[in-house]
């Protein structure tokens, strides 16, 4: 089997497509930025985005380069189990809206960190913000790697040069546009990437002999017998119960902790519009996700039946490779423009979240009387600084771009989601419980991932690298510590006298829409005991050997 250097035959076509799409992005960003009258408008798009635009924006923030390139790469490596990993990502926005979309909107919070500040105090919020910035940088890192790989294939240039040029273009665009730019651009980018992904995929299926090419997301069953002959284990579930169970704490709860997804709920004109957007989100997400499974399926089939070998470092490029083999050059150029749109929309959302956290959650709390103009400048600096850091880390990338993104999901699941869920729904949750839980579980998650101490891991291989094994232990640990420490300290009057716990409890009622306080709501100790017991069970199960 020969190996091939994959690059676009005619870079001019690619440059025309990518250049044209960038001009449109910049124009939308520039026009949108003019609409931002204050720094609040800049972060929340004036809370005026309609449900279809917002649904497209929500899906677009999610349809990153991971969807365009990373998913197909890991389907090539893991086969169908990776599809199960991806299906559940569509739960994020519905769960965020269900569990804390309404309360956080009532509070007027930009990010979950803003909620943590109001509910648990400044010190806990600083710890949360530090973890969240790390999460967003790791998330943006995967996108930057993807952008660099696309530029590498587009121009046939060195990875580092591609990374610096592509990264600089993107960071500049986000800084100029703000959330107005990212929301309206995200909607446009979602349409562009959807078309650039699905229509060429239909052509690939047709060239491969598939009769369902006119609806790629679901109609490829006629290719199944040939796939089973070429790759008999393609549909095998391969892994153990722990592997599948860990998807819930790591990725489902992880997605709930991602600030850039929550921000989409806050940019809607009202909550009903946000819920309408949620339905559109599941539709757009589903159609593109299902198409990525088809692309992965086609990639595996191509890998097994073609004489041209694809080296593991090129797995991330399989979508582009299939297009270069089966479609004309201009289609590949269009797909590359779509891939860049996918990376751009997510990096925008990541960098906007970093900017909002640094400007609104750190600087604004330390110096609350800064002028609106100064706050906007700080926002610009924070966004470009976050972008620069992710470009620098991407100079030494992991083999698969999606690994850093998935690890970031796990950290969000461990640190942010439990604090917000318990803070919104359980009044006894107090500042001591939150601080101990986020510090201990967050640091434990980092310690048991293979990057810091390679021998101190809960499982080996991929579950450890992407944070699945770490979060199967650390998410329940966070819930356990938060509930038990809160219940214990609640019985220590000397400690409770030092925090405004009654005010924190009143906040819970008010964010649920109740104007008069009642001690009977959201205040069950039995619920706390049940959460603690179930969490302890999962902590023990996670560290028991085997099951992966």
């Amino acid at each position: 089997m020969e190996q091939q250097q994959w690059a676009l035959e005619s870079p001019t076509l690619g440059i025309i497509f990518v250049g044209a799409s960038f001009i449109i992005f910049y124009l939308i960003g520039w026009y949108s930025q003019k609409m931002a009258k204050s720094s609040t408008d800049y972060w929340t798009a004036g809370r005026s985005i309609g449900s279809v635009t917002n649904g497209l924006g929500m899906a677009s923030s999610y349809m990153s380069l991971a969807t365009f390139m990373g998913v197909t790469a890991l389907i090539l490596k893991l086969k169908v189990p990776f599809v199960y990993m991806w299906i559940q990502f569509a739960l994020s926005i519905p769960l965020i809206t269900l569990w804390y979309g309404t309360p956080l909107r009532r509070m007027g919070a930009f990010t979950p960190a803003h909620f943590v500040r109001e509910r648990y105090g400044l010190k806990t919020s600083y710890i949360t913000v530090i973890f969240m910035i790390l999460i967003m940088v790791m998330y943006a890192l995967g996108q930057m790697i993807g952008v660099a790989k696309v530029f590498e294939m587009l121009f046939g240039i060195n990875y580092n040069v591609a990374l610096i040029c592509g990264g600089a273009l993107i960071v500049g665009y986000v800084t100029i546009g703000g959330m107005y730019g990212t929301s309206y651009n995200a909607a446009f980018q979602m349409v562009l990437m959807g078309i650039a992904f699905i229509i060429p995929l239909g052509a690939i299926m047709k060239a491969m002999g598939g009769t369902g090419w006119y609806f790629p997301p679901l109609l490829y069953s006629d290719m199944v017998p040939a796939m089973l002959e070429a790759v008999p284990d393609f549909f095998d579930m391969k892994y153990g119960l722990k592997w599948y169970a860990s998807l819930i704490p790591c990725f489902t709860l992880g997605a709930m902790g991602l600030p850039h997804l929550g921000m989409r709920v806050y940019t809607a004109s009202n909550l009903k519009s946000a819920r309408g957007a949620m339905v559109w989100f599941t539709f757009f997400c589903g159609i593109v996700f299902c198409s990525t499974y088809t692309m992965g399926f086609s990639g595996v089939f191509f890998q097994a039946t073609s004489s041209t070998g694809i080296v593991p470092t090129d797995y991330d490029k399989i979508t582009l490779i299939l297009n270069s083999v089966y479609n004309p050059a201009w289609v590949l150029a269009f797909v590359i423009a779509g891939a860049i749109a996918a990376g751009l929309s997510t990096i925008s959302a990541n960098l906007m979240a970093i900017g909002a956290m640094i400007a609104q959650d750190i600087i604004a709390t330390i110096k609350p009387d800064l002028s609106d103009k100064t706050m906007k400048i700080i926002g610009y600096l924070a966004i470009s600084g976050g972008g620069l850091v992710s470009i620098l880390i991407a100079l030494n990338p992991p083999t698969f771009l999606v690994v850093s993104i998935l690890w970031a999901f796990g950290l969000a699941g461990v640190t942010v989601a439990p604090l917000v869920i318990l803070g919104v729904w359980w009044k006894p949750a107090n500042r001591y419980g939150a601080t101990v839980a986020i510090l201990v579980s967050g640091l434990t998650y980092i310690a048991v991932s293979p990057y810091l101490f390679p021998n101190l891991v809960i499982a080996s291989g991929l579950p450890s690298a992407v944070g699945m094994s770490g979060s199967l232990f650390c998410v329940p640990l966070c819930f356990f510590l938060h509930t038990t420490v809160s219940m214990i300290t609640d019985r220590m009057p000397a400690l409770m006298a030092r925090i405004p716990h009654q005010k924190d409890k009143e906040l819970v009622d008010s964010i649920h829409g109740w104007t008069d306080y009642s001690d009977e709501r959201y205040n069950s100790y039995s619920a706390g005991m049940i959460v603690a017991a179930v969490s302890l069970f999962f902590c023990i199960w996670a560290v028991l050997p085997g099951g992966w």
């Binding site: 739960l91 579930m237 339905v279 008069d516």
Partner: protein
Amino acid sequence: MVKGTFYYSLTDRWDNRSSLFKEERMNSAYKKEVRYTLIFSALLLMSGHLGLLFVAFPSLQGHMIFGFPSQYIIPVVMGWLGLMAIVAVQAKLTNDLDDEIEQLSGTDQKI
């Protein structure tokens, strides 16, 4: 005087009854809020994690549905179209519940 006492007693009882009624409705709205959150969380988790069911019960695997192995196509379809149906119902019911809570609390926050 007697008439006045009777009148005040009636209005007091009416006020007490209406306040009790309001408290009951608030309590019921609160329970509904918790119930919806738990039920929809369970439904959402089920629709997105059907792979777990197939690995826990391996006998469900290997049946062909629409030309695909069951353990593949059921989670894929439920993770898209099934989820959409659940989310549409969730949006309708939680919108109604928000209206109810705001009406009981006497606010119109337009969040």
